[in-house]
């Protein structure tokens, strides 16, 4: 045994589970040695820039590319009809979202443009600058049409229909009716209602969308290097719409500078860039710049929810909601833009024990940028609504909002439990989490401080938000509806004659630490130090087929596959060792990269020596031994559609009643995501998620004018949350593992974003309620707060 080993015999096996070991890739990234897609330069690589529609809704009258074609460095200029011959259109519907309709979407607009920013003409040139120079010379003449901007009037008979063949602008509608809602409201002691608005915003990734498509006509193969969350899904999509055999398409994804759900959709400009590579038989690079990101990356949220709650006997008894959301001109392919509304309907009231629930959700088309799944899909809306209702109900009932929650949370001993909307929970810890939160934040102490400060004209507020999070999705999320999106993920683990271990997996690294998580689990399962483990992600040709990174599934799904593969490889190694050492396999163990006697711990053979024997001197092996130093295992949840997690978030802030400015003072999270593999990575996910949720609550908003133009499409005007304004975020954990897997891990990637907006929203209203103010929309701007106070 070597002394420098980080492992002691006593903490094997599983010693890395629950330990905050540093991520293996941080040093490389910190030294500027990342490998991002834009770093890639290929021979004969061309660059594409897009002419985008300046109108939200217009007929394309004519396109004149002749002056642009003469611009230096131009290789090819392509418009909609020609592009359609090389890239077939797509329709973003799934069969399990009944009635969802959308129209064919083309890589470049054909005939009509339907949002400001829609790509119309692709200009390929030797450099991006030359492409932009030429793009500025392309003349497109438009005949503007009346834009459909306001989702509230999108269904009015007088409103133009975006896609005449669809008949109207209603893309999707769903109704839930459970229990006896009318009776519950009739019998209620108290009823409260709200009309709430959740602003449209977007996920601003540090690295924008980027790809290099490289079609090799000699091999008939298409390789697409791209910053993506789902390489295998994209492989299917590129093949389907360019007509190349799917087995001849390879997607490679190296470092990703953030994704948040932005990099998991079919974007017309991406599709055009790929088709252009096939057309031109040379590599084509497309990097979305910041200005085009704002009008082409998916947006999210933009919900108007009318909601009502009934309280009887100090408990929640019924909730009723009417959700309306505008998704832009197309349902996004292949995940669809009905999922967020669907999630809102599923999740409203989720933490609470009540039986009477009625919900209507409508998804409408409009002439704004496309909208789809972004971190914590539907959650901030669902808990924004639920938690605002709970606070309103507490005010109506003159109860402490903590008390109403305590009375109404699903009891910890009620599992398995089915929520009012029909969602099924395996095991959650709402009550324990809630009590832990009240202690952590010193709820009583804060209430006393709040009262004291009010006497000096200082207005502080406490916001509580209970929440659940959809993680570890089963095939019921997308696959069941016909999408080629894998719910299953695999890990292949290989032992080399160096003693080194390589894991290949279909989940991807977005900067959140997937590779560290896989390495920790594999190292623990096999019995090797972490330094011995390498992880390969993001290549459809070298990793097991899988779904990628979304819906907080990496640790829960690929983590379990890594555990099972690691155990299988360990078994294979011990079988070889037993034969070589003439021992029984079950008296042997692997610790610190060596086979040892389980009882004494004494070393028998190192894995490196074992590997060398197997690979170089196989002749020394006893007859009949056929070593297999590679193992693959896959995992997909089956028993529950999702492994729900739960948590509570709380915010303490101060509102300046003169200026409407909000100062965030403190923020707490109690989270139960099952088995915690790497506490630091989990906490970073929560913190980052909370900050994004604070962005939604206070800053981020895609503002549109009445003509459908985005008014703040720059980093100067679209406000992302910045470090200076962020509070400290204190996090504590409970661990209720899922019994569906051995690992027991659930997801945590979206929890912060899911609950933070509700906590901030409630805290603001808690602060200004005594002044007679109440906000009903996020982001809450200083102006909206002063309006609520009647000051402007």
């Amino acid at each position: 045994m070597t002394d420098k080993s980080p492992l002691s015999i006593h903490d094997l096996p599983n010693s890395y589970i629950g330990r905050s070991v540093p991520r293996p890739n941080t040093r490389r990234l910190a030294e500027g040695r990342g490998a991002f897609t834009d770093d890639l330069t290929l021979a004969r690589m061309a660059h594409v820039a897009f002419v985008r529609s300046p109108h939200a809704h217009a007929e394309i009258k004519s396109i004149d590319v002749s002056p642009a074609e003469k611009s230096p460095g131009v290789i090819r200029i392509v418009a909609g009809e020609e592009m359609a011959r090389h890239c077939t259109p797509w329709v973003g519907v799934l069969t399990h979202l009944k009635g969802l309709k959308s129209a064919p979407q083309y890589a470049l607009a054909v005939g009509r443009v339907r949002w400001q920013g829609e790509p119309v003409v692709a200009v390929v040139a030797r450099t991006r600058a030359a492409a932009e120079d030429a793009a500025a010379l392309v003349e497109v003449s438009y005949e503007p049409l009346e834009p459909v901007v306001d989702m509230e009037t999108a269904l009015d008979p007088s409103t133009p229909v975006l896609h005449p063949e669809l008949g109207d602008n209603l893309a999707f509608e769903r109704i839930v009716d459970a229990g006896d809602v009318d009776a519950a409201f009739a019998e209620a002691d108290f009823v409260a209602d709200e009309v709430l608005h959740f602003g449209r915003h977007t996920g601003v990734t540090l690295e924008p969308r980027v790809l290099v498509a490289d079609y090799n006509p000699g091999a008939g193969k298409l390789t697409v290097h791209m910053s993506t969350q789902a390489p295998h899904m994209m492989k299917n999509i590129f093949a389907t719409h360019t007509g190349i055999d799917e087995d001849d398409v390879r997607v490679i994804c190296k470092d990703v500078g953030g994704s948040f759900g932005i990099k998991i959709h079919t974007y017309p400009d991406d599709m055009a860039a790929v088709a252009l590579s096939v057309m031109l038989k040379r590599p084509v690079k497309f990097v979305a710049d910041r200005l085009e990101s704002f009008v082409s990356d998916i947006h999210a949220r933009d919900h108007r929810v009318k909601a009502k709650i009934a309280v009887r006997g100090g408990r929640i008894t019924a909730i009723e909601i009417d959700d309306l959301t505008g998704i832009g001109p197309y349902s996004v392919y292949p995940r669809t833009s009905a999922v967020e509304c669907n999630q809102v309907l599923n999740l409203v009231g989720g933490p609470y024990d009540f039986a009477n629930y009625r919900a209507v959700g409508r998804v409408v088309l409009q002439n704004k940028n496309i909208m789809c799944q972004y971190r914590a899909v539907g959650h901030p809306v669902a808990f924004g609504v639920t938690e605002a209702l709970v606070d309103s109900a507490a005010r109506a009932a003159d109860m402490d909002p903590a008390e109403l929650r305590r009375n109404s949370l699903v009891p910890d001993d009620a599992y398995p439990y089915t929520g009012a909307s029909g969602i099924r929970f395996e095991a959650l810890s709402h009550q324990k989490s809630f009590e832990k939160m009240l202690q952590l934040m010193d709820y009583e102490g804060l209430r006393a401080e709040q009262a004291r400060l009010r006497e000096n004209g200082v207005y502080r507020g406490i916001g509580l938000a209970a929440m659940i999070e959809v993680t570890n999705p089963s095939p019921m999320f997308y696959g069941v509806g016909g999408a080629h999106i894998s719910a299953r993920d695999g890990v292949t683990i290989r032992l080399d004659p160096t003693g080194g271990v390589t894991c290949a997996t279909g989940v991807t690294e977005q900067g959140q630490g997937t590779e560290a998580m896989i390495a920790q689990i594999a190292a623990s399962a096999i019995g090797v130090p972490l330094e011995k483990v390498r992880v390969v992600t993001g290549d459809t040709e070298t990793t097991p087929y899988g779904g990628g990174t979304w819906a907080s599934r990496g640790a829960g799904i690929a983590g379990e596959a890594a555990l099972q593969a690691g155990r299988a490889l360990r078994g294979n190694i011990l079988a070889v060792a037993a034969a070589m050492l003439q021992a029984e396999a079950d008296t042997l163990d692997i610790r610190n990269a060596a086979v040892v006697d389980t009882d004494s711990g004494s070393e028998r053979i190192t894995l490196a020596d074992l590997g060398k024997t197997v690979y170089f001197r196989g002749n020394e092996l006893p007859d009949g031994v056929s070593p297999e130093l590679v193992a693959t295992r896959h995992y997909s949840p089956r028993q529950y559609p999702f492994a729900f997690t739960n948590g509570v978030q709380a915010c303490w802030l101060e509102v300046d009643p003169d200026s409407g400015f909000v100062q965030l003072l403190d923020f707490w999270v109690v989270e139960d995501c099952g088995t915690v593999i790497n506490p630091q990575l989990v906490d970073e996910q929560i913190r980052g998620g909370v900050v994004q949720g604070i962005g939604a609550a206070l800053y981020e908003h895609c503002l549109y004018d009445d003509q459908g133009n985005m008014r703040n499409a720059t980093m100067a005007d679209y406000l992302v949350p910045m470090a200076t304004e962020m509070p400290d975020i204190t996090i504590e954990h409970l661990e209720t593992p899922t019994a569906e897997s051995v690992l027991g891990a659930k997801g945590v990637g979206e929890a912060g974003t899911a609950g933070a907006p509700a906590a901030v929203f409630n805290a603001i209203n808690d602060a200004i309620g005594v002044l007679g103010g109440k906000i009903t929309a996020i982001p809450a701007t200083p102006e909206s707060i002063l309006k609520a106070l009647g000051k402007v």
């Binding site: 600058a129 932009e132 406000l719 910045m722 304004e725 701007t781 200083p782 000051k791």
Partner: protein, 287 residues
């Protein structure tokens, strides 16, 4: 987001710079710190044929005090402005305002002269030079002229600078006895351009305030003085009632436009809050 093609020249002397400007006329643009100009190029909001980089012109550097005048070279960065002992002593308003400009990376490159010449209506320094009654030194082929800050800012990104002219320095009268200044702003996030900013400068004699200049940024197409409010408080002791009175009259001075971050009404309201806070602080500091 790539700029249109342009040429680049870096003159070693003012003479050389003037020749370049003469040679290219309207097609040339001066480049100082580039913190305002380069974004506009990248967004293709402007496409000059040549950038004349003035950063090597020693004549535009330096901070000195001479004859009751603080002289600040146009190339002084926001960071230097913030750190300068001379500025802290002779014109503390400038140092205070500089700390509200953007973030360290921008302050390390962005220049005093660039900020004034760019004349962003929400920028802090134009409001300050107006409040301090500074004079701006402008050099051209034909010689050097001086323009009062009050005559320099014409409109949205428009100044008194003519073609072929370079802003070389700013002169500010050294803070005189009894004078005080104050600065505050409301910005959505620290470092953002202000929704409203107030630069104030005036003389205190006991409780009473005299010769007060209240200059707002972010509320109009250029920095504006709130003269009605100034007159309301002239010669009076700063009391809550007086402040309320001055705030109520601010509407006569300011008529802010809407922007994505705030309506005009909101900006006017915030301007009033600033007036109360800045003047109270100035009066309080005197006690």
């Amino acid at each position: 987001m790539k700029p249109a093609p342009f040429d680049y020249a870096k003159p070693a002397s003012l003479e050389e710079a003037f020749s370049l400007l003469d040679g290219h006329g309207e097609d040339a643009r001066l480049l100082a710190g580039g913190q305002s100009l380069l974004p506009t190029l990248n967004m293709r909001l402007s496409a000059p044929a040549i950038l004349v980089d003035i950063s090597a012109l020693e004549a535009l550097r330096g901070i000195s005090i001479d004859n009751g005048m603080l002289r600040i070279g146009a190339l002084t960065t926001h960071t230097e402005l913030k750190a300068s002992k001379e500025v802290a002593r002779a014109a503390p308003l400038l140092a205070e305002a500089a700390s509200h400009i953007a973030h360290p990376a921008v302050r390390n490159r962005g220049t005093f002269g660039g900020s004034l010449a760019h004349a962003d209506p929400a920028a802090e320094l134009p409001a300050c030079v107006l409040a301090l009654d500074a004079s701006l030194e402008i050099a051209g082929r034909g010689g050097t002229r001086k323009v009062a800050a009050a005559d320099f800012f014409h409109g949205l990104f428009e100044t008194d600078l003519g073609p072929g002219e370079i802003l070389t320095a700013v002169e500010v009268p050294v803070l005189r006895k009894g004078f005080r200044s104050g600065f505050a702003e409301f910005a959505r996030r620290s470092g953002d351009f202000a929704m409203s900013a107030l630069a104030a400068h005036g003389r205190f004699d006991g409780e009473r305030v005299h010769e007060l200049r209240l200059v707002y940024a972010g509320v109009d197409i250029r920095p504006v003085r709130a003269q009605t409010a100034e007159q309301t408080v002239e010669g009076k002791a700063v009391t809550a009632d007086l402040l309320a009175d001055a705030m109520a009259r601010l509407g006569d001075d300011l008529d802010p436009m809407d922007d994505p971050h705030a309506s005009g009404v909101m900006k006017l309201h915030l301007s009033g809050v600033l007036l109360g806070r800045v003047l109270s602080a100035m009066a309080g500091a005197h006690r």
